[in-house]
C-alpha cells in the first residue's frame, strides 16, 4: 500500500535557521532517507523550493489563468514529500513521525488512490 507523506513547515521559521542548523537538518533528512531505503519503504521523495517560487494555474472556460504564488495562504507551507510503501497505516504513521520536520512542522499522510 502506498502513502504520500506531505511535509508542511513554516517558511518564516525556516528562514530564521542559520547555516549550521540548515546543514544539520539536511543531514538528518539524509539519514532518514537512507533508513527508509534500507527498510524498503522508500519509493520517492523531494524537497520543494519555497512558495514564493510557486505559480498557480487554472483553466476556466478554456482560458488559462495564471496566478503568482501558492493556491492558498496558510500558516505552514508544503515544503516536500515522500512517497512510501507501508503495510498498514500504523506503519505509515510511524514512518511519518520520523520525518525530521514532523518535530516543528507537520506531516499529512494520504493513501494513494489505486485504479483497478
Amino acid at each position: 500500500m502506498q502513502y504520500l507523506c506531505l511535509i508542511f513547515e513554516s517558511e518564516a521559521l525556516a528562514a530564521q535557521r542559520d547555516e549550521q542548523a540548515n546543514m544539520a537538518l539536511i543531514q538528518e533528512y539524509g539519514k532518514f532517507t537512507e533508513e527508509i531505503e534500507a527498510t524498503g519503504n522508500h519509493i520517492g521523495g523531494e524537497a520543494l523550493m519555497p512558495t514564493e517560487t510557486a505559480t498557480t494555474v487554472r483553466v476556466r472556460n478554456g482560458e488559462t489563468l495564471i496566478t503568482d504564488g501558492p493556491f492558498a495562504e496558510t500558516k505552514e507551507q508544503l515544503g516536500g514529500y515522500y512517497l512510501i510503501e507501508a503495510a498498514t497505516l500504523d506503519d505509515a504513521i510511524s514512518i511519518a513521525a520520523k520525518i525530521p520536520s514532523a518535530k516543528d512542522g507537520c506531516v499529512e499522510v494520504r493513501p494513494v488512490m489505486k485504479f483497478e
Binding site: M1, Y3, T88, L89, D90, D91, I93, S94, V109, P111, M113
Partner: protein, 395 residues
C-alpha cells in the same frame, strides 16, 4: 418475535467483528449480514435457531464466498481453507480487533465513539445520534465518511502489532471511558440504554486487561469503572441519587473488592495515569462506611494531583464539593468563583454552589442557584433530584 430481534441484535456485533476480521471489507460484510438476518427471520417462522451468532456467521460467510466465486474465482480458493469460527475465544479476539479499528487514532474521537456504539455495541443509528446530540443525518454522513477513510487507508480489522500497541491503546481506553461515563452520568435518560453502555464498557475493558496484562493504565481504568458500577443498586432509576443519599449496604461489595485488587496491582506496575488517580478517588468513596466518614482530606489532595494531568473545570467543581465537606468553605468559594465564567451552562456547578450556600446558611440564595440548574439541565433524572432538593430547603 421480540426476543428473536434481541438475539439478532446481540449477535450482530460479534458476527460483524468475526466477518470483518476474515474479509476486511465493511460493505461486503454489511451486505452479507443483511442477507443473513433476513434468512434468519424466514427460518425462524418454522423452527428455532439454537446459536444465532454461529448461524449468522455461517450464512453470511457462504453468501460472501458465493459472491466472490462469481467475481474473483482465484481469491476464493485461498479463503476456502478458513476454518469455521465458533469458540468464545475467537469471538472475543475478533471483537477486540474491531474496537481497535473503530478507535484508530487517525479517526476523530467523535467518529471513534460513533463507530464503537454502532459496530461493537450494536446500537441503531437513532439511539447513537441521540446520545451524541447530533441529527440522524449528521451521524449517517459521519459514518459514511469514516467507512471511506478506513477503506482508503487500508486500516486493518485486527489487533495492532506489539510495536504499535502503545500508540493505539490510549484511544481505545478513552472511548470506553467516555462510553462508561455516558452510561453512568449521561443525559440519555433511558435506564436500559445506560445500563447496557456501562456493562458493555466493563466487558470490553476486561477483555483488554486479559489480553494486555502488563498495561497498568487499563487495569486502573477497569478498577475505576467497577468502583462506580458497584454503586448501581443504590441508585434510584428515575432520579439522580447523590453519593450522600445512597444506602451503602446496597453497594456490590464483591465488585468493590475486585476493583480494589486491580487498583493495588496496577499501582505496582507503572507510573500512575489519570485513571489511577480517578480510581483512587472512587476507591476512597467505596471504602468509606458513611458519606461523613469519607477521607475528604485525601480526596482534595488527589483532585490537586488529577488537575496536573488534566485541567478541567468539572474537576474543580468536584474538588470544591470535597472542600465543603471538611468545612473549608472559603477555599471552596474561591475555587467556584474562579471557574464561574466558564460554567454558565453547567448544572453541576450551580448544584455545587447551592451546596456551599446551604452550608453557609443562605437557604434562599441556594434555592436561586438550584432554580438556575433546573433551567439548564437536559436530564429528567437530574431535574427530579434538584426539585427534591429545593423542596427540602424550603422547609
Amino acid at each position: 418475535m421480540a426476543s428473536f430481534d434481541t438475539d439478532v441484535n446481540a449477535a450482530y456485533g460479534t458476527a460483524f467483528a468475526v466477518l470483518t476480521k476474515r474479509f476486511q471489507d465493511i460493505q461486503q460484510v454489511e451486505d452479507a449480514l443483511q442477507h443473513a438476518c433476513i434468512k434468519a427471520m424466514e427460518k425462524q417462522q418454522f423452527e428455532t435457531i439454537a446459536n444465532v451468532k454461529a448461524w449468522l456467521i455461517k450464512v453470511a460467510t457462504h453468501y460472501i464466498l458465493d459472491e466472490l466465486k462469481k467475481h474473483k474465482p482465484d481469491y476464493v480458493e485461498h479463503l476456502d481453507t478458513i476454518s469455521p469460527v465458533d469458540t468464545a475465544y475467537e469471538y472475543d479476539d475478533a471483537t477486540l480487533g474491531l474496537i481497535f479499528t473503530c478507535c484508530h487514532p487517525s479517526l476523530s474521537q467523535d467518529n471513534q465513539l460513533a463507530l464503537c456504539l454502532k459496530w461493537v455495541m450494536g446500537f441503531d443509528n437513532a439511539s447513537i445520534a441521540r446520545a451524541l446530540l447530533i441529527s440522524d443525518k449528521t451521524l449517517e454522513q459521519r459514518i459514511t465518511r469514516t467507512k471511506r477513510k478506513i477503506k482508503a487507508n487500508n486500516i486493518e480489522f485486527s489487533l495492532p502489532t506489539q510495536s504499535h500497541l502503545n500508540t493505539r491503546i490510549d484511544a481505545v481506553m478513552k472511548v470506553l471511558y467516555l462510553i462508561f461515563n455516558e452510561g453512568y452520568f449521561g443525559n440519555s435518560g433511558q435506564v436500559l440504554v445506560s445500563n447496557t453502555l456501562c456493562k458493555q464498557a466493563i466487558y470490553l475493558m476486561k477483555l483488554i486487561c486479559r489480553t494486555y496484562r502488563d498495561n497498568a493504565a487499563s487495569h486502573a481504568l477497569l478498577a475505576l469503572m467497577l468502583f462506580i458500577q458497584a454503586r448501581t443498586p443504590a441508585r434510584a432509576t428515575d432520579k439522580v441519587t447523590l453519593l450522600e443519599h445512597q444506602d451503602r449496604t446496597k453497594w456490590d461489595r464483591a465488585m468493590i473488592s475486585e476493583a480494589d485488587m486491580l487498583l493495588q496491582k496496577s499501582l505496582k506496575q507503572d507510573r500512575p495515569t489519570s485513571y489511577h488517580i480517578q480510581a483512587a478517588i472512587a476507591g476512597l468513596h467505596s471504602l468509606a462506611t458513611t458519606y461523613e466518614n469519607t477521607d475528604w482530606q485525601q480526596i482534595v489532595l488527589l483532585y490537586d494531583k488529577l488537575l496536573t494531568y488534566d485541567y478541567s473545570t468539572a474537576i474543580i467543581v468536584n474538588q470544591a464539593v470535597a472542600l465543603i465537606q471538611i468545612d473549608r468553605l472559603e477555599q471552596a468559594q474561591t475555587k467556584l468563583d474562579n471557574v464561574a465564567p466558564l460554567l454558565l451552562h453547567y448544572p453541576p456547578y450551580f448544584i455545587a454552589y447551592a451546596h456551599l450556600l446551604e452550608h453557609q446558611g443562605c437557604y434562599g440564595e441556594a434555592i436561586d442557584k438550584l432554580n438556575q440548574a433546573v433551567l439548564l439541565s437536559k436530564s429528567e433524572a437530574e431535574i427530579a433530584f434538584i426539585k427534591d432538593k429545593i423542596q427540602y430547603l424550603k422547609h
